[in-house]
């Protein structure tokens, strides 16, 4: 609002020009002045009735006054008006003169300024990196300021009279589109800004210059197009710098893309500002697709996204870097990785906004390897703990470093408690091995002490002791391994016996025929003798009568001389020999042809009948006095076996039980026969409530020729034959459990599966 301002300025002016404000005041005072002049003579003009009605009374005088009024007053008034007008004119002229003077000085000043500005402009034009150019209506250069030639080093004759595109042959060939558009624009006589191109007249020229030009069309007074005028700037250095920057960016980009780890930056809202290829690949995207996307959108697992963004937030808020040692990351394929991520806060240049740069390393493999190591360690501990051997790790001075579980049991001490103690103190039975420990470490090879005898709880035990040096780089020492081989030694000795018996069995089989025939002759012969000396048989009597012999007397004689007893002795001895031969034959392996499906209950009942009829007065037991309890598994029917052999085994067990109970005088002798259907075996048990036996006897009962019976009462082969039949011929098991005074239990296990048979 410039107007009020100027008015106010004027009214406030300290020196207002005289007369200017009084022009109005003058006219106003004149209006007031006229009636005063008319009233002064005191004569009321009739024709001036509008002045007063009272003036009618003075008529004669009125004419003179009228005259005076008509002549004098106008003359006076005329003079006044003329005076006033001339004064007014004077005033006007004076003002105008002042005004002209002012304008004149103003113009002079403007002209000065213009001249100054022109000079300045020329100086600037010549000094600046910009230049001025002009084109005629045919778009050919007509003028270029000096600066152009100085900057580009192109001589005027190459430029003047040519079009712009003729100066940029190489560039226009490289990007014809750009040039076509520019040309169209010029042909339409439109103004343009910041058109960038490269001058290069010929391709062999060393290097072109990058120019940026702007221009405006020029029109003459009639509005006709006269050409173009504009400015230009050499931006070669700028372009070079930009190119260098761009290349440097590209290089950096390539570097972060080459890094296999995920490198990315997110702003506080979770948008990706930057991402390398590894990051994009994890989301199955290109870098371009990922950048500016929200993490929420690209990440499949919400809770992971939440957690990661919360970490970002934390880093931004605290403005300190954070190492996320382990975090899960589910990639686009749903595969879960473990990442170790470093998060660093930074301010995004340009945006001036807080952001987080993250570098995430996939440690899935490392983690797996670490877990594998831990698992392996536990596994190895399990292995050494599960080993039945006693393992004692010692340092070169014999102090315990490691114990496995069997060692803890053997020493009655925990690993923790034993650690650091001398091994001979914890395991006195092994104290003598210290020399071997030293030897093993010195020579770097294991030293074995086989079949070392030890006393454990008053019993003789055998142990193999092996001392071997630790070969690890970091630890030196040795491991003492002790295996209790008592059971094995016992089994071995039994196997030796069994082998012996097998060879005896083989021998017996070959000899059986040769022995059985003479035995038959002995036994049958003695039977015939006893029959033919008796007085009962009619044939005997008739022969005796014919010879005149009294058979009764003869019999008495034989009795008196003990001949009958000798005969009975021959018979018994022959029977026993036959039994031994038969037992020995049992040790030979049989063909499978005797195997058949046998009903277990039927078989047991048959054996019970046999046992009942087998009672022996001489052996002082009567099977009928024994209570038989049957505990048969109803699920069990048949078993595939050699019936006569298994019958022999069970009969033998029954007889042994009966005999033992009879000898001990067990009050209410009971034998329990039990069968049980086990997964792999048919179990047949013979349980008695007899005297039982102690461990020492129990361990030896299956040994051949081992007997607790008085000499002549048994061959000592019964149980070993049974053992042989069950284990060797049937691939079964025969075991015995017993405690003194608590009876005995014999368990026969026969394989249920036919394939398991021999």
């Amino acid at each position: 609002m410039p107007k009020p301002i100027s008015l106010r300025q004027r009214s406030r002016s300290t020196r207002p020009p005289a007369g200017v404000p009084s022009r109005v005041a003058w006219i106003r005072s004149l209006v007031w002045f006229l009636p005063v002049l008319l009233a002064l003579p005191g004569i009321a003009d009739a024709e001036m009735g509008w002045l007063s009605q009272d003036s009618i009374d003075f008529h004669g005088f009125a004419e003179k006054v009228q005259f005076a009024l008509w002549v004098v007053v106008p003359a006076i008034m005329l003079v006044v008006v003329v005076l006033f007008w001339s004064w007014l004119l004077y005033r006007q002229t004076a003002r105008r003169t002042r005004q002209l003077q002012r304008e004149l000085s103003e113009r002079r000043r403007v002209e000065m300024a213009l001249r100054e500005s022109e000079t300045r402009f020329r100086d600037v034009t010549e000094a600046a990196s910009d230049w001025i150019w002009e084109m005629d209506e045919n778009l050919r250069f007509t003028y270029l300021s000096e600066r152009f030639y100085a900057l580009t080093g192109i001589a005027p004759q190459y430029v003047l009279g040519r079009t712009r595109w003729e100066l940029a042959g190489v560039d226009s060939a490289a990007d014809p589109q750009k040039w076509r558009r520019h040309r169209e624009l010029l042909e339409k006589h439109l103004s343009f800004r910041d058109f960038i191109y490269q001058t290069q007249l010929t391709s062999n020229q060393k290097e072109g210059r990058y120019l940026k030009v702007s221009g405006k069309p020029i029109h003459d007074g009639q509005g006709r197009f006269r050409g173009y005028r504009g400015t230009g700037t050499d931006i070669t250095e700028q372009v070079k710098a930009e190119t260098a920057l761009h290349q440097s960016e590209l290089r950096l980009r390539r570097i972060i893309d080459l890094v296999p780890h995920m490198i990315f930056a997110r702003d506080s809202h979770g948008h990706f500002l930057l991402a390398n290829r590894a990051t994009a690949a994890a989301y199955d995207m290109t870098v371009g697709e990922l950048v500016n996307r929200s993490h929420h959108i690209v990440h499949r697992v919400d809770e992971e996204a939440e957690r990661m963004l919360a970490d970002d937030q934390e880093v931004i808020e605290s403005w300190t870097s954070k190492l996320v040692a382990e975090e899960t990351f589910t990639d686009h394929a749903g595969q879960v990785h473990t990442l170790q991520t470093m998060k660093i806060p930074f301010t995004e240049p340009g945006l001036n906004e807080a952001a987080v740069l993250s570098v995430a390393i996939d440690i899935t493999e490392q983690k797996r390897a670490k877990e594998e190591v831990a698992r392996m360690r536990l596994y190895l501990k399990n292995i050494i703990d599960s080993m039945p051997s006693v393992l004692i790790g010692v340092d070169p001075w014999g102090y315990i470093t490691v114990l496995n579980q069997p060692a803890e049991q053997a020493g009655g001490v925990s690993w923790e408690a034993a650690q650091g103690r001398f091994f001979g103190e914890v395991f006195p039975q092994l104290e003598g091995q210290f020399e071997q420990v030293r030897q093993a470490i010195r020579h770097g090879r294991p030293i074995k002490t086989p079949r070392m005898t030890l006393e454990v709880e008053g019993e003789l035990h055998y142990a193999d002791v092996m001392v071997y040096p630790l070969m690890a780089d970091t630890a030196s020492g040795a491991v003492i391994r002790m295996d209790d081989i008592t059971a094995r030694v016992r089994i071995e000795s039994m196997m030796v016996q069994t082998e012996k018996m097998l060879s005896v069995g083989g021998l017996a089989a070959g000899m059986a025929h040769e022995i059985n025939n003479p035995l038959g002759a002995i036994l049958q012969g003695s039977q015939n003798i006893l029959r033919r000396i008796g007085p009962d048989m009619s044939q005997n009597r008739s022969v005796a009568d014919a010879l005149g012999i009294d058979l009764n007397l003869l019999n008495r004689y034989l009795q008196e001389r003990g001949i009958l007893r000798f005969l009975e002795g021959i018979r018994e001895a022959g029977t026993r020999a036959a039994k031994i031969v038969a037992d020995m034959l049992s040790f030979s392996r049989r063909s499978e042809s005797r195997f058949a499906l046998v009903d277990v209950e039927d078989m047991l009942e048959t054996v019970l009948r046999l046992a009942a009829s087998d009672y022996d007065l001489k052996k002082k037991y009567d099977f009928k006095r024994i209570t038989i309890e049957r505990d048969y598994d109803p699920a069990l029917r048949a078993v595939y076996c050699d019936k006569t052999e298994i019958e022999q085994v069970i009969l033998n067990l029954l007889k042994n039980a009966a005999q033992a109970m009879a000898e001990e005088g067990t009050p209410s002798p009971t034998i329990t026969l039990r069968t049980l259907h086990e997964p792999d075996y048919v179990l047949i048990e013979v349980v008695d409530n007899g005297p039982g036996m102690d461990d020492k006897i129990l361990k030896r009962i299956f040994e051949p020729f081992f007997t607790t019976k008085e000499v002549g009462a048994g061959t000592g082969l019964g149980l070993s034959v049974s053992y042989f039949i069950v284990t060797e011929q049937h691939n079964g098991r025969l075991s015995a459990t017993s405690k003194p005074g608590q009876g005995s239990r014999f368990s026969i296990r026969l394989p249920r599966i036919r394939e398991a048979l021999p």
Partner: protein, 129 residues
């Protein structure tokens, strides 16, 4: 009488003892040391109901002898008396009606069961169960 009982065994004392026991039982017994001798005696026309056969014979295997005798005298019944512990009846002999009850293993402590078996087999067929 019930006819002859034939004993084939190369062991003289076994042969003689069996013969003595069965004769005491009132049976007619002919005993030979080999199958050839037995066959020659049979060829002379003697009727024989029961044969006690040893397995290991000087001239042939007892099983083979039984096969020959069975072919020649289908009515003849056989008992086997062997000293071999591993003897088992061949299938074709089982097919003839022999079973494990007909097998007697040496040494025989008591000849009574064998004698009873001979008597049962020698009895007229219609009486046998």
């Amino acid at each position: 009488m019930t006819g002859w009982v034939l004993i084939v065994d190369d062991e003289e004392m076994i042969r003689e003892n069996l013969k003595a026991y069965l004769e005491d039982e009132g049976l007619g017994v002919a005993a030979f040391e080999s199958a050839t001798h037995a066959l020659r005696w049979l060829r002379d026309g003697t009727a024989c109901r029961v044969c006690i056969m040893d397995m290991r014979l000087p001239d042939m295997d007892g099983n083979a002898a039984i096969r020959i005798l069975h072919r020649l005298y289908p009515e003849m019944e056989f008992l086997i008396h062997t000293g071999s512990s591993s003897y088992s009846l061949p299938e074709d002999l089982r097919a003839m009606g022999l079973d494990d009850d007909r097998v007697y293993r040496k040494p025989l402590g008591d000849m009574a069961p064998l004698a009873a078996a001979v008597r049962a087999l020698a009895a007229p067929r219609e009486v046998r169960p």
